[in-house]
Symmetry: C2
Subunit: 214 residues, 2 copies
């Protein structure tokens, strides 16, 4: 099938949420998109029109023409393949594809629930839980980012956006250590032009909906 | 890159674990593979040689030549694209690709942790947790399997193996209702030849390591 170049992308976004990951990804891809930004306080993500895009009523969601995609890992794999010229995904049959996919699934299935385990002080049950435990996750991630500069080595991919963004939240929430390989990896990722652009948009949108007192 | 046809696949498998999902997938793909089956009681999944394939020390892991892939969703996306002739994945630029990826990420990021919430009687915190809540997951899944026969409609994909397998575990563990759309969907999935072949292998392997008393 020929590559569709008629990009008609919309990002459904809310400030101070996990939707930032998709915003960063779009800035790294460098494709045009429309930002549909709203405050979660508006409840818009629970309205029927929004639920038609993402039945979970969560941000982000991305709509590509008439095609809705949700779950950040799916958004990342979908967009990085769809806009392959940006070079953010190893192509199918490229050996790095396996590690690339593994890290994106690892974010959804391991890092995110491991954070919940730690936040909620749930008893770790590594043999039962698909995510192992927070400590197991931490060991694997620390090891994964140590060589660097990126998860796949020399090449920055959408997996770095997904994992890097979640690790950045973990540092901000104080459940990961700023001093060490994770802090250094996030430092490299947040020094990128794509991150800096996304962060400026995120700050503008946060200010728009809940301005800081002056 | 030309399609590699020199399949040299190994599935690291343990009876009565989530590794069944990968076994079912391989049987649906119809590609040759070697089954490395071991009892978790042996501790082999915590040995250094195994940890080199999957640092999480979990089954399944799949090794494709020299390429290791872990996390069941990553295994599914990787193998279904790698052996595209089996038709278990919409190709990139096919509109259904978005929903296909979303369901596979939904399994890792929503269904699995929602099960843990229910098993452990954790307090649902839908606004905080990436997986929403068990009840939210249940509503979305019930709706997703209702039209059928498969998640993408007429077409059976690797997403049905991944999600179908997890739903089957949920029925077996009594946290999902056998009577209703999920029970019917799992009934359709487990009537497939690929499932039946995988299930026969799974029963053989379970019997081999821990025979039932006679």
């Amino acid at each position: 099938m020929p590559e569709r170049t008629d990009a008609d992308l919309t990002l459904y976004y809310a400030p101070r949420t996990r939707a930032f990951t998709a915003l960063w990804l779009l800035e790294e891809l460098g494709v045009p998109y429309r930002l549909e930004s709203f405050d979660l306080a508006s409840g818009r993500h629970k309205h029927p029109e929004y639920l038609a895009q993402n039945a979970m009523g969560k941000v982000p969601a991305v709509v590509d023409g008439h095609i809705a995609v949700s779950e950040i890992g799916a958004i990342a794999i979908y967009l990085a393949d769809r806009f392959g010229d940006a070079g953010l995904a190893p192509v199918i049959h490229e050996p790095d594809r396996a590690a690339y996919l593994r890290w994106i699934l690892f974010n959804a299935g391991v890092i995110e629930p491991a954070y919940a385990e730690r936040f909620n002080k749930w008893e770790p049950r590594p043999a039962n839980h698909a995510w192992g435990s927070f400590d197991q996750m931490l060991a694997v991630v620390s090891d994964g980012v140590k060589i660097g500069p990126w998860l796949l080595g020399a090449r920055f991919t959408a997996a770095d956006v997904v994992v890097g963004s979640t690790l950045r939240f973990g540092l901000a929430f104080g459940i990961l250590d700023k001093h060490g390989p994770i802090g250094e990896y996030v430092g490299r990722a947040t020094a990128r032009d794509g991150f800096i652009r996304a962060n400026a948009i995120a700050e503008r949108e946060a200010e728009r909906f809940s301005p800081r007192p002056r």
